[in-house]
Symmetry: C2
Subunit: 205 residues, 2 copies
Amino acid sequence: MSKYGEEIPNHTREDIMEATFVALCQHGYADITMEKIAEGSDKSKSTLHYHYGTKEKLMVDFIKFLLEGFEDKIVPNSDDPLEKLNTLIDRMLFGLKEGDTHERFHTALLELRSQAPYNEKYKKQITKNDEVIQKIIVKIIEEGIEKGKFKDTNPERIATIILSAIDGARARQISTDREAAENVREALDRIIESTLMKNSRGCKQ
Amino acid sequence: MSKYGEEIPNHTREDIMEATFVALCQHGYADITMEKIAEGSDKSKSTLHYHYGTKEKLMVDFIKFLLEGFEDKIVPNSDDPLEKLNTLIDRMLFGLKEGDTHERFHTALLELRSQAPYNEKYKKQITKNDEVIQKIIVKIIEEGIEKGKFKDTNPERIATIILSAIDGARARQISTDREAAENVREALDRIIESTLMKNSRGCKQ
């Protein structure tokens, strides 16, 4: 059996990924070590090294793992494109569970993003994640247009502003004392209304 | 004369700040040291320590310095609120000068943002910067409303989405291979048109 990645048994990988999540929330990216991850898992440090070799490789798999979790847990199941879009935005902005863990976790993610320019492997996987998430939003908007619920607009462009605003709100929420997420949620409501909804209030004047 | 901050002679502070800017672009925040900053300045490492004591204190003054530079260099002078807003967005998204320096510099800023949850002093100064910049945008929008150029909308909310989208676009630009800034610029055009402009195309359907 080869080392690193694909062939790690599912339950082993899941256990390591869960422990990585907890360690990232607790210590932040800069202070995380294979040892600290191993402490929160039922695997030893040497097992982690056996499967991943380096912290960098483990982190790349962790970013990949997040994407799998995103599709399973964050993308809502609904026939109504507007409800689907709104629920997805809420989950991305406020998390599945609110509170400290959500914020600490996004802090660690922001640290990973800020390392991407120095680390081609992080950059590649973050790009892939962003592209998949962008496509999910585009698909919801396209579905809304097809069903006649949304205006015939440019889905790529609206998806980009929604995702950039969410990313920016998270970064501001983390790095300032401002309540960015609530404001951005309100602003996105307005954006959705004026750019996607037919007969929007914005068009009465 | 007291150490640290206020009473550093202007030309000394400016020289240190310029050197900090260059060192941040070159090394990134994680690898920057007082020694590396001193190398790019005509001041010695001990002069830096005399004035600032620690790298942390120097960085806080650097974030403050950026805000002063923002008001002088980034905020455009124009009587037309729409032109003022558009020029400001362009400068924030694409920089005064395009290219590598702009991107490296924003990478360092993103690193500083990602450290804010662990560093109350960074958080405080970044919050202050964000609030001043938010107020500048709000004022432009209010001016546009007063002059009858913009719809009577909620300036705080529109300013929040503009700034969050810019922050998010920068973070995506830095951490992925996607061309986020161009897309966000296009999307913001649409947002400005549909939420601020009277008789916008978005209202014809």
